[in-house]
């Protein structure tokens, strides 16, 4: 992420979260946080505990963020933000929290006077992580048609190109879903399981091979030792934790979409 991208990102984030931008120079941003955002990104739970316990007037922080250090004479004027910095990570985390569930409608025009019909879809964005002593991650955006149960991949890429808003457009008609979203969620979970099962898992085989090899090395060290000492068990456990293949399925976000 380049300096300008970070700057734009921050601006959109604060706009969406109702934090007033007081000053913007393109490489420097002064912003008045709301109470809610202060709690999420400022790392000061004790302050908020104190304010709430004593019923004092809250004073959410005013932040000056420098997004391009090379353009600032005095870096002490504010907090330098760059890709990898802790504050940006907290803002990423807050974004995730505040952008988890949506219900969106495609904005269709009814110039022709004909009523437009919108079909309900349910989408879940999954992150699948493969872990052993190495890591690989994949994103799957699965969308299911709540009328006929058809499932499509890359759903997010598809809907992000549409003109969407959180309200139903005038003169449109939304079909009542046949598959209940809670049921659809189960179907998508089954789908993601089967996608994972059909994926190439040679990585796990390779990890097991490395594991066995290192276990053999360890056993060689204690060859002829009748009662293996505790350090053997500790090492063995370390090997298991390092190489044992694991898969994690995480949901990033998802929601309901009414589209043409």
């Amino acid at each position: 992420m380049y300096a300008e991208e970070i700057h734009d990102y921050l601006k959109s984030f604060f706009k969406e979260t109702d934090c007033e931008v007081l000053h913007d120079e393109g490489h420097l941003l002064t912003v008045q946080l709301t109470i809610d955002i202060d709690k999420k990104i400022m790392n000061r739970p004790f302050y908020w505990q104190y304010i709430e316990a004593t019923n004092s007037t809250p004073n959410p922080a005013r932040l000056t963020l420098i997004t391009n250090r090379t353009k600032v004479d005095n870096p002490l004027m504010g907090e330098v933000i760059h890709f990898g910095s802790g504050r940006l990570n907290q803002i990423f985390k807050a974004t995730k929290e505040l952008g988890s569930f949506v219900k969106m409608y495609q904005q269709v025009s009814n110039e022709t006077g004909k009523q437009q019909t919108l079909t309900p879809y349910f989408c879940v964005n999954y992150k699948v992580s493969y872990y052993c002593d190495q890591t690989k991650e994949k994103l799957y955006s699965l969308g299911i048609n709540l009328m006929n149960g058809e499932i499509e991949d890359n759903f997010h890429e598809f809907v992000s190109q549409l003109n969407l808003a959180p309200y139903q457009p005038d003169g449109s008609f939304c079909l009542q879903y046949i598959i209940k979203p809670t049921r659809a969620l189960e179907r998508l979970d089954v789908m993601i399981q089967s996608i994972i099962q059909n994926d190439d898992h040679s990585w796990a085989e390779e990890a097991k091979k490395r594991w066995i090899k290192e276990q053999e090395v360890l056993d060689y060290f204690y060859v002829g030792v009748e009662e293996k000492p505790e350090s053997y068990q500790i090492e063995k456990k370390g090997l298991e934790e390092r190489f044992n293949p694991r898969i994690k399925v995480e949901i990033i976000n998802g929601g309901l979409f009414y589209i043409k």
């Binding site: 959109s12 569930f101 964005n125 190495q134 994103l139 090492e235 456990k237 399925v249 929601g255």
Partner: protein, 507 residues
């Protein structure tokens, strides 16, 4: 295979669905997805960390080292770059990579006390890893990344507290301090779970080949076999080894070692000279009398005491006197006492110190800043006085100095004094690239100590050739030390790899 399903998203969604809201912002929803996409780890191989480390100029050999450790060595390795190539950077990079990949959360970094704060700063400032420095009573269960001094870690109650934690990664700096398997620190580390583990040392062999065996066995027990197998397959004795080619190959499977000349960075040269010194006839006489001591009294039967005395005699009469004076207290018979007193008398009457005169000669010829390393505090004080009488300004340096005093002495040396006189223990933790002359006034038994000394000066940022003068008095124990040093260097080079010049090369 284990499959985890995380997040309470499902429950939360059902709740919101049933209450029809509240629904989140579409913009934040899209931003969140974009961030995930951007931070995705698309391949098992390759490094993700560098793009996050905007405060750091990584050198190619450092990136390569990190990649080798992660991809070929499965996260357990000895980082053995020569001094000054950035082992700390490599370790930080590897740790960061594992943290990004979600494989390491909790890490313990064991370092000598003098380097504790430096590590904490580096990790926080350069790697954005929130590491804390462990002091007594730090609640370590509340911190993910803890930097602790080795001396603290091995003792109760700290060691028990560490064992209670479940660390994903252990990093040990100056790992040659673990060369002895009988020490408390070795046993402590041995019983520690090492899921991912890095041992950092420029000197994986200091004295004998068993040190590499114990170091590797700590990291990966069995890699070099068990003790008996190691000893018999390589018919290893302390200073010689068979089948070194195979051993070297095995060691290289768990060790990354960059040499200065492999880094693509321009390095200035090392010019190493062995300077032979002749005792004056009076000095020689005292030296001979000391050599005879063991036949005079049983107190001197211990070869350790004898060796100490002889080495001290090669250093200064001040150093020798202190030890002799201690010995005389232990003597019971008058005969023994008389002999020692005779030595002391002769000693005190010595007017010239041939080695110190040689030092003056070198300093005058250099016409530049010079560092002198000695093993003895008494010699250090004497040299300062002697240089003073010759009109040469000097400052002292040793390992017991506090951080602020060290910085002050360094400053004084840079700006005011011509000479810095350091004892061995002052060797670690100062960088003096503005100086280009190193005098090894006394020789240590361990070649790696010489390497550490030279490394203070000959490191990244040095712009001129570095001159190294190894002083050795002829026909004394120092001659033997020189021979032993070169046979140790020989073992090191056979098993670990080539070394930059420490001693004058044999023809």
């Amino acid at each position: 295979m284990i499959m985890e399903r995380s997040t309470n998203w499902r429950e939360d969604f059902i709740k919101r669905f049933e209450q029809d809201g509240p629904w989140d912002s579409w913009t934040l929803y899209k931003m969140s997805y974009e961030i995930e996409k951007m931070n995705l780890i698309p391949e098992f191989s390759g490094l993700q960390a560098p793009k996050f480390l905007t405060n750091l100029q990584l050198l190619p050999h450092q990136v390569e080292a990190a990649q080798t450790v992660i991809e070929k060595m499965n996260g357990k390795a000895i980082l053995a770059d020569e001094v000054g190539l950035g082992k700390t950077i490599e370790a930080g990079l590897i740790m960061k990579e594992y943290m990004i990949r979600g494989l390491v959360k909790k890490a313990l970094i064991l370092v000598p006390a003098s380097l504790q704060n430096q590590w904490v700063t580096e990790l926080n400032v350069r790697f954005f890893i929130p590491a804390i420095s462990y002091r007594k009573n730090t609640p370590i269960d509340q911190y993910d990344v803890v930097v602790m001094s080795m001396d603290t870690a091995k003792k109760s109650p700290h060691r028990e507290k560490i064992y209670e934690q479940d660390y994903d990664m252990i990093i040990i700096d100056e790992a040659h301090k673990l060369k002895n398997h009988k020490t408390q620190i070795y046993e402590f580390v041995q019983s520690l779970k090492k899921k991912f583990c890095l041992l950092l040392t420029a000197t994986p062999i200091q004295n004998d080949v068993f040190e590499i065996f114990y170091l590797v066995s700590l990291l990966k027990p069995g890699h070099l076999g068990n003790y008996e197998a190691f000893q018999s397959s390589f018919s290893a004795t302390k200073n010689s080894i068979d089948g070194e080619k195979y051993l070297k190959e095995l060691v290289n499977q768990v060790m990354v070692r960059n040499r200065r000349h492999d880094t693509g960075i321009e390095w200035t040269r090392r010019k190493v000279e062995t300077i032979p010194v002749q005792f004056t006839s009076q000095e020689q006489e005292v030296y001979n009398m000391i050599s005879e001591l063991k036949s005079v009294s049983s107190i001197f039967a211990s070869s350790f005491t004898m060796v100490t005395l002889l080495k001290e005699m090669c250093s200064s009469k001040e150093a020798t006197f202190l030890t002799l004076n201690k010995m005389i207290q232990k003597c019971s018979s008058t005969e023994e006492k008389n002999y020692i007193e005779a030595i002391i008398e002769k000693l005190m009457n010595l007017e010239t110190n041939a080695k110190a005169e040689k030092v003056i000669e070198i300093i005058e010829k250099a016409q530049d800043k010079v560092i002198i390393f000695t093993e003895y505090r008494a010699t250090q004080a004497y040299l300062q006085w002697y240089l003073y009488t010759k009109g040469i300004t000097s400052v002292l340096f040793n390992g017991k100095f506090s951080k602020s005093k060290r910085d002050w002495m360094k400053q004084l040396f840079r700006e005011r004094a011509q000479v810095l006189i350091a004892t061995e223990s002052g060797g670690e933790g100062i960088n003096l690239q503005f100086c280009h002359h190193v005098i090894n006034y006394d020789l240590p038994w361990n070649p790696m100590k010489l390497e550490q000394r030279i490394g203070r000066v000959h490191r990244l940022g040095q712009e001129e050739d570095v001159h190294i003068y190894n002083l050795a008095i002829e026909n004394t124990i120092e001659q033997k030390i020189l021979d032993l040093l070169s046979s140790k260097i020989d073992v090191f080079e056979k098993v670990v790899g080539d070394l930059d010049d420490i001693l004058t090369r044999k023809a």
